[in-house]
Amino acid sequence: MWKSDAPASQNYLVGTFACLGLYMAALFGVRAGVQAGALSGPMLYAAAAAPGLAVAAQLLVTLRFMAASDEFVRAVTAKRFIVAATLTFAGFTVWGFLEDFAGLQHVPGWYVYPAFWVLMGVLNPFIRSSH
């Protein structure tokens, strides 16, 4: 059962921004480390796992938010998540083929995560029904 709206929403927002911040920090940290020649071999592989951990943490934050929400908020959040994931997968799949066969500029794989969350935000006002 839903307990209290405000704390769950606040925790979700704080958690989301913390994970996004961690992701960007890890990303630019690894990039700076490689450019400075400080990261290579096993250290590089270990450092590259940091952005992945931020993505996993974000998923846990979302699941916790859904568990603390009522059935309507849970359903709408799941719907937004699925639509945003579908659009992200579809968009990057199409782009990948166009990269290979139409000579489009390469888009780094780490763009996927921020693109997904931008879509989640954009979809927010449009998905307001659980149907």
């Binding site: 059962m1 839903w2 307990k3 709206d5 929400s69 009522d70 059935e71 309507f72 908020v73 359903a75 709408v76 307001r128 029904s129 659980s130 149907h131």
Partner: protein, 66 residues
């Protein structure tokens, strides 16, 4: 699902927030129920009926009624 939630709430002078607290759901959920953007679970439908001291079929229209 068609329902009389908004009318019943207005008759009792409750806000969406107040009804949400009685039901244990958010104000957004009450709004979504009133505007038919969410069909309640069986559990929530019974909680709503209990809050208004009515039967479920007195709050919600049975979409499968002959």
């Amino acid at each position: 699902m068609k329902n009389r939630l908004r009318v019943l709430r207005a008759e009792r002078g409750w806000t969406q927030e107040e009804l949400g607290k009685r039901l244990g759901v958010s104000r957004q959920a009450v709004n979504a129920l009133e505007t038919e953007k969410h069909d309640p679970s069986l559990d929530l439908a019974y909680r709503i009926a209990a809050a208004f001291e009515l039967k479920v079929e007195e709050v919600f229209e049975n979409p499968h009624a002959a």
